[in-house]
C-alpha cells in the first residue's frame, strides 16, 4: 500500500480495521500519529454532532402517531356503520321487492274481511251507478260495469290487494251478507276456486278482465250472488 492510499484510507475512516491498513499504520510513527489525530478529530466531531434532542420528542412522536391512529380508527368505524346501513337498506329493498311474488287472493280476501269488519255492519245503500263510477276509475279493469242493480249494496270502497287497487263491495245474499272483491287480472295473482276458514266460505272466479272473490258465511249465499253477478256484470 503506498503512502497516498494509506492517507486516503485514514481520512476516509480512521477506525478502519482492515489488516493491511493496520499493518501500514504500525510501520511508521507518523502514520500512527496521523491516525490518532484523525481519531481525535472524529471524537470531537462526534461530540459536536450530538446536539441536544428536545426532551419530550419521543413522547411527541408516539402521541402524534396515536392521534393519527385514533382518527383512522374513527374513519374505519364510520365506514363500518355506513356499510351496515347500506346492507340494511338493501335488505329492506329486497323485502319490498319480494312482495311482488305470487299473491294468494283467497288469503287476502279473508284477511280483508276480518280487517274491515265495519263493512259488514253499515248500510250505505249504494246505487249501482256509484259502483260503476268507482269501477271506471280503477285502472286495468277495462270497461267492466254492472248493467243493473245487483241486489242491495250495503257498502262500497276501494281497497288494496298487495298494491293493486280493487273494489270492495258488500251485497245482500239469499240470507246473509256477502263480501265481493273485484280485482284486475294480474299474472302474479293466484286464485282458488273455493276457499274457507272456520267462519267464512269463499269462492273465486275469473271473467275476461277481472278476478271476482266472494266471501260469506253460507255457501248458498255465495252461489246466489255469483248467479246475480253473472246476470248483471259485464
Amino acid at each position: 500500500m503506498d503512502e497516498l492510499k494509506f492517507r486516503r484510507q485514514a481520512y476516509e475512516d480512521p477506525h478502519n480495521q482492515d489488516p493491511e491498513f493496520l499493518a501500514q499504520m504500525r510501520q511508521k510513527s507518523e502514520h500512527q500519529t496521523l491516525v490518532n489525530e484523525l481519531k481525535g478529530l472524529d471524537a470531537k466531531l462526534m461530540h459536536a454532532l450530538k446536539v441536544d434532542v428536545p426532551e419530550d420528542l419521543a413522547d411527541k412522536l408516539i402521541l402524534r402517531q396515536q392521534l393519527q391512529q385514533h382518527h383512522k380508527y374513527r374513519r374505519q368505524t364510520s365506514f363500518l356503520v355506513a356499510m351496515a346501513a347500506s346492507i340494511a337498506f338493501v335488505v329492506g329493498i329486497s323485502f319490498s321487492l319480494l312482495r311482488l311474488g305470487p299473491v294468494d287472493l283467497a288469503e287476502h280476501a279473508l284477511a280483508h274481511v276480518y280487517h274491515e269488519d265495519i263493512a259488514l255492519h253499515i248500510d250505505q245503500n249504494v246505487n249501482v251507478n256509484q259502483v260503476n263510477a268507482q269501477l271506471a276509475s280503477i285502472k286495468n279493469l277495462g270497461n267492466v260495469k254492472f248493467t243493473q242493480q245487483p241486489g242491495k249494496v250495503y257498502f262500497t270502497s276501494y281497497c288494496d290487494f298487495q298494491g293493486v287497487k280493487s273494489l270492495h263491495l258488500v251485497v245482500q245474499g239469499q240470507q246473509g251478507k256477502v263480501t265481493l272483491f273485484i280485482v284486475p287480472v294480474e299474472k302474479r295473482m293466484v286464485l282458488d276456486q273455493t276457499f274457507a276458514d272456520s267462519k267464512y266460505q269463499g269462492i273465486g272466479f275469473e271473467t275476461a278482465e277481472v278476478f271476482i272473490l266472494l266471501v260469506g258465511e253460507e255457501l248458498s249465499d255465495l252461489r246466489y250472488v255469483k248467479e246475480e253477478i253473472n246476470n248483471t256484470f259485464i
Partner: protein, 189 residues
C-alpha cells in the same frame, strides 16, 4: 347493527387488536431507540431545530404507516434515514432554501464543561454546518448512523468510490479549518 358490532368484537377484534398492540410496541421501541439519531441527522441536514423536529415527526409518521414493510429490525435505522432523506427532499421541493447562508444560531447549547471546550465545540459545529452538503451527508451517515462505506453508497445511491472520496474531503476540510482557527486563536491570544 348490534349484531355486526358483536361479530366484529368477538371474531375479528382480538386478532386485530393484538396485531395493533404488537405493531404499537414495535413502533414505541423504534422511537425510543432511534429518535435521537434521527433528530440529530435531520438537524444537521437542515440546520434548524424546529424544522428538524418537523422532519422527524413526519419521518416517524410515515414509518408508522409503512411499518409492516420493515421486515428486519436491524435495518430500521437505514430505513428511517431513507424516509427522512425523502422527506427532506420533499421539503426542498416545497421551499427553496440555501442552507449555506443560514447561520446556525441555535448552536449555543452544549454538553461541554469548560469555556475553552465550548468555544471549540462552537467552532466545530460551525465548520460542520458550512461543509458542502455532498461532503457533510456521508460524514453524518458515517458518524451518526455508524454506516459503512457500502451502506452509505446504497443509501445515497452513489458508488462506493464517490462516497469514500467525499469522506476523505470532508475530513481533510474539517481538519484544515480547525488547524487554521487554532493557529489564528493562538496568534490572537
Amino acid at each position: 347493527m348490534k349484531m355486526f358490532a358483536s361479530w366484529r368484537n368477538k371474531s375479528v377484534g382480538p386478532t386485530v387488536s393484538s396485531d395493533m398492540m404488537s405493531k404499537q410496541r414495535r413502533y414505541n421501541s423504534l422511537v425510543k431507540a432511534l429518535h435521537a439519531d434521527i433528530f440529530r441527522y435531520a438537524y444537521w441536514l437542515c440546520g434548524d431545530k424546529h424544522v428538524a423536529e418537523d422532519i422527524t415527526q413526519e419521518t416517524f409518521l410515515r414509518a408508522w404507516r409503512a411499518l409492516d414493510s420493515l421486515k428486519d429490525d436491524k435495518a430500521a435505522k437505514a430505513w428511517l434515514i431513507t424516509i427522512l432523506r425523502r422527506e427532506n427532499a420533499r421539503r426542498f421541493e416545497r421551499k427553496q432554501f440555501d442552507y449555506a447562508d443560514i447561520e446556525q444560531d441555535t448552536l449555543e447549547d452544549s454538553q461541554g464543561n469548560s469555556s475553552e471546550e465550548l468555544v471549540e465545540q462552537y467552532l466545530i459545529r460551525r465548520h460542520i454546518a458550512k461543509l458542502d452538503m455532498e461532503y457533510r451527508e456521508p460524514l453524518l451517515l458515517q458518524l451518526i448512523g455508524g454506516f459503512s462505506g457500502d451502506e452509505i453508497a446504497e443509501l445515497m445511491e452513489l458508488n462506493r468510490n464517490t462516497v469514500m472520496t467525499r469522506l476523505f474531503r470532508a475530513r481533510s476540510q474539517l481538519k484544515d479549518l480547525l488547524e487554521k482557527t487554532d493557529v489564528r486563536g493562538q496568534s490572537n491570544g
